[in-house]
Amino acid sequence: VGVRDDEFVEFVHRCSAPLRRTALLMCGDWHRAEDLVQTTLVKLFRAWSRVRGMDQREACARQVLLRTIIDESRRFWRRERSSDVLPDRAIPAVDSDLSIDLRRALAALPVRQRATVVLRYWEDLPVGEVATLLRCNEGTVKSQSAKALAALRTMIDSGRVLEGRQ
């Protein structure tokens, strides 16, 4: 058990930061990203006896993270609902920050499009691997990527994001 736990701790030290960056691009908030990474790592620990023998542990962790995020987005209390009245929201201290605007633009995309963009253009995964991770075919990955990039460009060009900063 000691060796097993040591291996897991070492894995956590190595993978936490990259996983948190991926989670941030998917959820748009550092704190939530950290929570998602913790959930992912706990799930991995439960299956560590199988995972530790794998060559691609990082890929496995990424897949678990992605499934966790997609599953969470489907939950009733997190699901997006249309409303006539905008809810009150706390304004972050550095609201004018460019990175926050970009994250908001990403957050406006549907979860699977967001996942496609993050996996293809941030994780730099080939289309086939993204398709495997998202359990769809390669054509869907390409079309989702194209739609996501077009939506991001529209948001940027229309000035809803990055207004007056480019």
Binding site: D5, F8, V9, V12, H13, S16, A17, R20, R21, L24, L25, W30, E34, V37, Q38, L41, V42, F45, R46, W48, V94, D97, L98, S99, L102, R103, L106, V117, V118, R120, Y121, W122, D124, S145, L149, L152
Partner: protein, 160 residues
Amino acid sequence: MTAADDADRQWAHTLLARAMDDEPELQLRAEEVLTSGRRSLGRRRAALTGAITVVALAATGILLSLADSARSGAQTAHQGQPALSTTAPAAPETTLYGAEGPLILDAHSRVMTPANRPSSGWWNWCTPTGPRWTRDRATGAWTATRPSAASTTRPVPNHR
């Protein structure tokens, strides 16, 4: 990869890289994750153990019930009575009016119960105090036995 694809990739990667300019320090501690993981594993094991216990208890109950009914069937066969009846009685319940008040004669379970008591098999099993009626299959005649004279064995269920 076409030039347009390459340009898209470059543009998207730059965009995503700029989205995380203000990366704060990681608060996650590996030891905390390990503790959470152990706790989660323990909860899961406890739930699994509980589920297995419930299934085992249910299976034991079913097996005991099956064994009991098989034993009753064997006892019936030993007494020379057919285990299965192929002919259904014309009237399953008949009310008789005697000195002890109205009684319901249940032809299915072959017992007689007072009319103000439930005439189900459970009542008969739990309180075998009333007169027990049995029918001779050869002659079709019914005979009553008093609890004091009756044997202490359980009533033979009718396997229909």
